[in-house]
Symmetry: C2
Subunit: 203 residues, 2 copies
DNA sequence: GTCTATAACCTGATAGAC
DNA sequence: GTCTATCAGGTTATAGAC
């Protein structure tokens, strides 16, 4: 099939396997994935997978760390930007997630489901909540609403933007096409910031 | 076949298996579950599982239908109650979910994850979005805010109350103990209705 | 109805040729 | 580095005794 002659575009075998692993693990979950599926998807042999990564679990871990970073790492720069207001940050966060999740619709359900199943705790490797910590965002929130628990506040925002993707099978049935789902998410880009501003205003 | 003397024992064993299946499937997911695990959890033999339910998949389907009903069926009576106001319905829904989810914390991630993995489409058996349809709730919302898309509105509410349970592994690390997590959810019982009222008031 | 034993198949991982 | 062939162990489901 595909010949490996390209030295400029680094389509290394290792990367091909990783890319295949991303696809298959995301689609079938860790337990539902067979290493054979990944090898086939990568267009290589099963033995080669074990040559590059030593086991199914090690390959999974590589993919999982990446995915967690993609899902939560997105927050950090925005939360700590001293040049934007609280209201601006909310608009930015909602749109960052809308963009990223429309491109990776099953990222949240994959990551959160596998985290929940907890095949060995690599929860220890990553602390997304520390992003919040003493961020500029939290300070700005405290200045405006000292009574508001930052975690409760952020849960509200993330829940509103991420939930439709987690419950996508339900929403797809409720509204029909993929296009309609995307339209709904795009409508939420304006809706959620408006809602959050209302929440911040009312004691 | 015509014998009815052992009906009670039969029902009891069948229920024991079902209960074990609920536990193990929820904890490990469909693909991660071995029928042996269920048999052991039920305190019976593996062969007996296949005697009552014909296969792993059939047993799973029984459990899954139940779980979906538990997660979404809870909405219907409240949404269609003509004796409560819109504001009252919101308080009721948030507290119904808080109660139910504190008792079944991994119900949402289980159902939504398995729906997403979609091992054969039994999505066709169940249409939770039809609960919304022409409900009293939607009529009340339309009377108050004709501009508000009911699906967007409900997504917001459900997202805010369900999301912490779906992202529970993250939240647990952020706030420490199980007790602290429960306290956070209990705080949300008052928080979310207040927020939703603010959303409804502000155009 | 309930068990033991086993069939039939699947899956992760490795040995060894090229 | 990459392949084919295969091993060792695990998994669902069933046959057959009680």
């Amino acid at each position: 099939m595909a010949k490996k002659t390209n030295t400029e575009i680094k389509a290394s075998t290792e990367e091909k396997i990783k890319e295949a692993a991303r696809t298959v693990f995301t689609k079938k979950g860790y337990a539902g994935t067979r290493t054979r599926d990944i090898a086939e998807e990568a267009g290589i042999n099963l033995a080669l997978l074990n040559y590059y990564f030593r086991s199914k679990e090690k390959l999974f871990k590589v993919v999982m760390i990446e995915k967690m970073q993609k899902l939560f790492g997105i927050l950090s720069p925005t939360l700590n930007d001293a040049t934007t207001s609280l209201d601006q940050k909310i608009v930015l966060i909602v749109n960052l997630y809308a963009d990223m999740l429309l491109k990776n619709p099953d990222l949240p359900i994959f990551v959160l489901s596998e985290l929940n199943l907890n095949h060995d705790g690599f929860g220890s490797d990553f602390q997304p909540h520390k992003i919040l910590g003493e961020s500029v965002f939290v300070k700005q929130l405290h200045a405006k609403r000292p009574d508001m628990n930052p975690l409760q506040f952020v849960s509200g925002i993330l829940g509103m933007i991420i939930f439709p993707f987690i419950a996508k099978p339900i929403f797809k049935k409720a509204i029909g096409s993929e296009k309609a789902f995307e339209a709904m998410i795009n409508e939420r880009r304006a809706l959620i910031p408006k809602w959050v501003k209302a929440i911040l205003k009312t004691k």
